[in-house]
Every structure is written in C-alpha cells, then in structure tokens.
C-alpha cells in the first residue's frame, strides 16, 4: 500500500491541536494508561530484566526468522491449520476473499486485528459482497461511524461517552439514548452476540505464533476474539511475518510484558492458544483454521540490520501512550494505520520515506518511546536514521522511497550555506547584514517562515561573536 501523494503530518496535526474535545479525550486516557502501567512495574530491576529477556527473545526470533517461519508452517500443517503466504495486502485480501467465496461465506465476524486494518480488508470485502463486522467494542464503535482506529489497542479512544451515546441511539435499532457505560456495552453485546451466532466465518489477528507447536496465541479481554475464532465454522487468522517466536516458553515473558505495558494489566481476561481446528471428537470449534502470513514490506525492513529492530514490536502501544506529540494530536492526525512513535518509524518504511517524510520529523526526539518500549526498539535513533534516508540515496540502503523527500529549497539553502562558509569575505558580509538587518526581516519571508510558523522570530545580536572578540582584544588561541 504505497501512498501516492505526499501526506503532511504537520497540517493534520495543526488541525487536531485546535480540537479541545479531542485533546481532552486523549489527555485523560493517556494519563490513565501511564499511571496504570507504572503501577505494574514497581521494581525497576524486575522491569529491566523482563525488558532484556523480551528483547532477547524477539531478537532471537528475528535472527532465525526464515527458519522459524518454515517450522511454523510445518507445525501448523501437521495440526491441520492451513498456511498461506502473501507478499502484498492485495494478495492477502484476494486470498481471504477466495477462502470465503469457496465456502459461500457472506458474513465475517472479526476479532481485533491491526494487520487487517493494514490490508483495508473490510472495505475490500464489502466491495466484494461480504459483510465484515468488527466485534471488539472499540472497533465496533468506530466501524459504525466509518472511522479508522486512533490507537492500536484502544481504537475508539478519541471518542467520549456522550459521542458514543449519540451514535448508538442513532445507529443501533431500537436503542435509547444513554450515557451509562454498562448500558452502552449491553447494547453492543446484544447486537454482536447475534452476529457471532449467525456468522459464516471468523477472522482474528495473532499476537504470537509459536513455531515449535504450531500455536496461534490471542490476547484479549472481551471474549470477542474467542467468539470469532471458536463459534463460526471457518477461522482465518492473519499475521505479519515477524510475529513468530520459537517456543511456548518464549511466549510467557512476552505476554507478561505485553499486557502490563499496554493497559497496565498483570494479565488479560483471556489468553487463548489455538493449535488446530475442531478435533475428531470435539463438539465445537471451527472445522477449518487458516493462517495468512503477510509480508507487506517487512522483508525489506528485515534486510537492514539497524531498521530490523522495528520488527521486534509486540504492538503494546506504550510508545504512543507516553508520546507528548501523540497525546496532543491523537491518532488520526498521523493518517496512518499505525499512529504514534511506532507508526512514525513503521509507516514510512512501508509506504515510502519520501511521501511520509513529514512523519519522521513530527517528533521532539524526547526519547520517551524508546524508554518505555518493552522490547527496547531504539525509536528515536531510527527516526533520525529515517530523516537521513528521506533526503539521501545511500547505495546500500533498501529503504522504500529513499532520497525522495529531498526539497529543492532545502537543497539550495545548504549549497548557499556551504558557499558562504567557504569564503571568509562573503561570510563576514553575510554576518554583517544578518546582525544589522536580520531583526528587520518580515517573519513571512521564505525559509524564515519555516521557523516562525511555530516559534517566535529570533532577534540576532547586534554584533557577531568574532566582532566582539576582536573589539575586546580576545584571540582565537
């Protein structure tokens, strides 16, 4: 899914900043998540040890990635799970549509899956006559409004309950207006249980795929994941190819750090391990389980030893919860499937660093994301790397769209700068003008306006440092 046009984060971010309701919704939610996470890690030594272990597990998985994927395929196949591979989102969509059509499936209930968002699966299926119903409460809420998730864990976090109350009363049949969260939840339960009962197929993501046992692990609180994967006769799971881990022992630490980092829970309500379709004597469970392994640019990210760390991500969302930018502009401003810091490094690598170059600059590089990341992804360092990739075409680099974010105006500015610095006379002249006349420049002149758009116009000193040095008798030695 390469973006065709340049998407400017600074424009959408500026618009988001003017929405006080949005800012209040995010501020409240992020503050809550930060303190809940903190409460789960009372001992800094334990936290660091768990991060080190989790990082090592994910790094080992990546080092052995091709081998583990083959092992996963073999184990799944032995268990009766059918494995499919897709290089692109288009391929994955076609594959899933093919599976559904071959079985005459018209309705699909979905557990939460960010990879399916990445594929824009719902829109694709709707266009081909299959109804795709989101069953995670947050996903259901935004699907009613035709919106996309604004957070990878809490998709409807940008809405408050008044907004949801209005929406339910308008869009759910026979629903009365109420702001009571329990009543709103009960309404969704009623609608969606009927959907689970009737659905022809279910779709889920995968939190961890275990190569040794051929097991798909699903982490959830609501039970919609279990409903989607156990009630309909067909279960399709989609995963990014980086989700594989060697063995089930490796999953326990990752699960422990995932729920604590994501929502500040020591454990989720359900941790569901799926190792096959309905067994010979079983009375329920899907008759068929399919696993779709998606690449979509991941193998390219994998090829770069530094950028590969991006693929360690376990999708906890802690980086966005702690990001001062995300907290203020919310998830939609990023105009990307994955918002926040992880999205800022993932999206440009998937869609092209040229069209999304604005994203890698939309960071103060404060480092909070890297500090809380449970698998120690050096997000700030990768942001800096991608800033360079956007404007340079290093021959060894495999980054999508490298060098295409270079602006002619920026290019000329640096050339001019270099020319002036190389010529002492010119430099002295330029400095003289800058110090005497710089303060009189209107804020809107080209180049200067890039600075003054969000900052106060600087007033240059009346004399340069070297002038003062000379006047005061200082020496360069």
């Amino acid at each position: 899914m390469h973006a065709e046009r340049e998407i400017l984060f600074r424009e959408s971010a500026a618009a988001a900043l003017l929405d006080p309701q949005l800012r209040a919704n995010f501020r409240r939610a992020m503050d809550g998540l930060i303190s809940k996470r903190q409460a789960q890690f009372p001992d800094p030594r334990d936290l660091q040890e768990l991060r080190d272990l989790s990082t090592a597990i994910r790094s080992r998985s990546l080092l052995r990635l091709p081998e583990l994927l083959e092992q996963l395929e073999a184990s799944c196949t032995k268990n009766g799970i059918q494995v499919h591979w897709a290089e692109t989102c288009e391929q994955a969509n076609e594959l899933i549509l093919g599976l559904l059509q071959a079985r005459g499936a018209k309705t699909l209930v979905k557990g939460k899956s960010m990879v399916s968002e990445e594929m824009h699966l719902n829109a694709f299926l709707e266009a081909n006559g299959v109804e795709a119903i989101e069953s995670d409460l947050g996903e259901y809420i935004i699907q009613l409004d035709g919106e996309t998730p604004s957070h990878i864990i809490m998709p409807a976090i940008h809405k408050n309950k008044d907004q949801i109350a209005r929406q339910f009363s308008q869009k759910i049949k026979d629903a009365k207006y109420t702001e009571d969260v329990d009543e709103l939840t009960a309404m969704a339960r009623k609608v969606l249980r009927q959907k689970f009962l009737e659905a022809d197929a279910g779709l889920s993501g995968v939190n961890f795929a275990v190569a040794e046992t051929g097991t798909l692990c699903l982490v959830e609180n609501e039970g919609n994941g279990r409903m989607s994967t156990h009630v309909p006769p067909l279960h399709i799971a989609v995963m990014g190819l980086e989700k594989v881990v060697a063995d089930l022992e490796s999953v326990a630490p990752l699960y422990a750090i995932l729920t604590r980092s994501a929502t500040g829970q020591a454990v989720s309500t359900y941790f569901n391990l799926i190792t096959g379709p309905r067994g010979a004597d079983e009375k329920d469970g899907p008759r068929e389980v399919h696993l779709v392994i998606l690449d979509n640019g991941r193998s390219r990210i994998y090829a770069d030893p530094e950028l590969r760390a991006t693929l360690r991500c376990i999708r906890c969302g802690a980086c966005m919860n702690h990001c001062p930018v995300y907290t203020r502009v919310g998830g939609h401003a990023y105009e990307a499937v994955y918002p926040g810091p992880i999205g800022k490094i993932l999206t440009p690598q998937m869609e092209g660093v040229g069209v999304r170059h604005d994203l890698v600059h939309g960071s103060s590089l404060c480092g909070a994301c890297g500090e809380v990341c449970p698998v120690e992804i050096p997000i700030p360092e990768i942001l800096v790397r991608l800033r360079r990739e956007a404007t340079h075409s290093d021959p060894g680099s495999q980054v999508a769209g490298k060098g295409t974010g270079r602006l002619a105006s920026e290019d000329w500015t640096w050339r001019l700068w270099a020319a002036v610095l190389k010529r002492p006379a010119l430099y002295r002249l330029a400095t003289w003008f800058a110090t005497r006349l710089g303060g009189a420049l209107p804020a809107g002149v080209p180049l200067l306006r890039e600075w003054t758009r969000t900052r106060t116009q600087p007033v240059p000193a009346r004399r340069s440092l070297s002038e003062r040095m000379r006047a005061e008798g200082g020496s360069h030695d």
Binding site: T213, N221, V231
Partner: protein, 220 residues
C-alpha cells in the same frame, strides 16, 4: 501462493545477517514463586480484583456447593460436559428438580441458537491455576467443549488448590504445553470485560458476565 512463499523466504534469507543468538536470562521469570498456601491467596486476590467470585468447597462437598449456588441464583439450567471427570461427578450428585443439568453431548450445530439464548450457565473443570496474576487454565476438548466456558452468561469453574502453579511460565513447563497442545487451551482471569468506552471498566461485554470459581481446598 507458493510463489509468494518462495519470494518472501528468499528475501528474508538474503537479508538476514547471521549473528550469535543473544542469551536468555530467565531469572526474572523463575523467581516468581510462592509456598502453596500463599499461591491460593494470591490467585484469589488477583481474580477478585477483576470481579471473579469464589465459592469455598471441600473435595467431598463441591457438587453441593455448586447446587446451592444454582438454587440461590434460581438458575433454570446449567450446562456441563458429561464425559469429563468433574462433569460426571457433578451429575452423579445432582438432586432432581430445580436447576436442570443440560449435557453438552452433541455437536454445537444441533443447538447453537439454544446455547446462545436459553443456557443460563456453563460448568467446567480446570487443569490448574496461576498464582502470580490470578487465572484459571483450561483445556477444552471432546469432554468439555470450548463454548461451555464462553457462551453462557455465567461460567462456573472447578479449581483444586493443589493444582495451582506459580506463574504461566511455570505452568507451561509443568503441564508440558511447550511440547504438545490440544487444539485449544487457555487462561481465564475473570469475566469478560472492556474499557473501550472512556477507559471505564464494564463487565460482560461478549463472554460470560460472571465467573464463579468453585475452589476446592485440598491442600494437605
């Protein structure tokens, strides 16, 4: 999609730098251990914090404790797996009248609608519990179908104190899950819940609204 498979694996092999695998120091997982009695208290605390309810029982009286709960709640019926050990014991001790015991003894397709609309509660055994965080370990299968612990609005689960593990990490090893797993195994720490509306916790969104643990105190 053999072509996609070949292309993807080819790219990964070409791009993968071989390096030494970083060591795994699992001490942080290993040291989460408690004496048996403390495990019970921890599990209970963890699960009660997320609205799980507990019924205390002995190895002899637990069927009566289940029955007393059903009477108290005036449940019209309780579904169970007749071929499971716990299910068989429950059925053997069930007095006639009152809450009707419904056996889950045929493929779900035969009564899916009924399961979703008229079954009031489901009863299952467990294969253990997790002390560190609180949680029940279940291995659904032919004797105890998967939906028994998911679809009915109340889930009653039998847990023997002697089967508690320190943590999920220890449980995976103790139960041999790392080597082979049935088609479905899971951990349940409470009733279904969500915080998707304004971070406000609400229980019973899709799965059971109530989780009742029948805790059999069988520690020596």
């Amino acid at each position: 999609m053999t072509d996609a498979r070949t292309a993807i694996l080819g790219r990964l092999r070409a791009g993968g730098g071989e390096g030494p695998l970083p060591p795994l120091d699992t001490a942080v997982m290993e040291r989460r251990q408690w004496p048996p009695a403390e495990r019970v208290a921890r599990l209970r605390r963890g699960m009660e914090a997320v609205h799980t309810e507990f019924l205390d029982a002995t190895p002899a009286d637990w069927p009566a404790v289940v029955r007393a709960f059903c009477d108290r709640e005036a449940l019209p019926n309780l579904m169970f797996g007749p071929a499971s050990e716990a299910g068989a014991a429950l059925a053997a001790a069930w007095p006639a009248g009152g809450t009707q015991l419904l056996p889950y003894d045929r493929p779900v397709e035969a009564f899916k609608e009924e399961l979703f609309t008229t079954v009031a509660a489901g009863f299952t055994g467990t294969v253990g519990g997790v002390a560190e965080t609180g949680g029940l370990l279940l291995m659904p299968g032919p004797a105890e179908p998967r939906l028994l612990s998911l679809v009915p609005p109340i889930h009653l689960a039998l847990l023997r104190a002697s089967t508690l593990q320190d943590s999920l990490w220890h449980a995976v090893k103790a139960l041999g899950w790392g080597r082979s797993l049935p088609p479905n195994a899971l951990l349940i720490s409470g009733p279904s819940k969500t915080a998707d509306i304004e971070q406000t916790l609400a229980y019973g969104v899709h799965g059971p609204k109530r989780l009742i643990v029948v805790l059999v105190h069988d520690l020596a």
